[in-house]
Amino acid sequence: MTDILFYIFAAITLISALLMVVSPNAVNGAICMIICFVTTAALFVLLEAYFLAVIQVLVYAGAVMVLFLFIIMLLDVNKDTSDLLKDKMTLGASITGFTLLVILIGSVFAGGQHLPETALLPVIENPTGEGAGIPFTTSAKSFGYSLFTKYMLPFQVTGFLLLAAMIGVIVVSKKHSENS
């Protein structure tokens, strides 16, 4: 049953991603992008990363794409929508590059005899935090445990990065006065 769900969600993700890339209207592209993010969150659920699925929907499909839609509609750049098929050189070059990259990725998976196929490991319901590594769990508790023990320094650095980004956005988007 979950196999069928994986194939359905994978197909929706790929189709909506392609539609985002080739759609001439940027607003339609943003809507396709939201669909792509939500189906990726569904794939996270299939991988039993429930917390990350929620974060994906809240941050990516919610905050980030709302910001994108806001800027697209604010700037209103949909006047010249015929930018896709006019430039034959760019079209040919990008399709060639895309095909080469897909062939490169596909050739890794084509035979299938070189790559080891690992089975799904059992999920520990309630971690104790003992031992060397942090085992895979479905609970959000292990995120908090890891963030405040093993990943303490990256956590602090990320918080500082958010502060720097906030100040940077204010500085960049501020209207400069004439005498400054």
Binding site: T2, D3, A10, T13, L14, M20, V21, V22, A26, G29, A30, M33, T40, L43, F44, L47, E48, A49, F51, L52, Q56, V59, Y60, A63, V64, L67, F68, I72, L75, V77, D83, L84, D87, L91, S94, I95, G97, F98, V102, I105, V108, F109, E117, L121, G133, F136, F143, S146, L147, K150, Y151, T158, L161, L162, A165, M166, G168, V169, V172, S173
Partner: protein, 101 residues
Amino acid sequence: MTVGLNAFILLAGLLFAIGMFGVILRKNTLVIYMSLELMLNGVILALVAFSRYNGTMDGNLFVFFIITVAAAEVALGLAIIVALFRLRQSVMVDQLTSLSR
């Protein structure tokens, strides 16, 4: 679930390839930026799949940090695009060629 790790990695690679296709093909800066987000999306899907099939939590923590950094990056990048539009009245990359003259 009997779907293996290779299916997830193949899907992540294809998402990355589609994102790169968009970055090369499109002229609109906002769509290029969305394609960059698509490439990040493929990478975090690969990380979550590796984390699940390896049985450790580290990949999930990496994805947590990547999402945080990507949110900050989107806010800053869109502010730069708005400042660019205010200066040049255009966000098409083929019209932003003042450095090449």
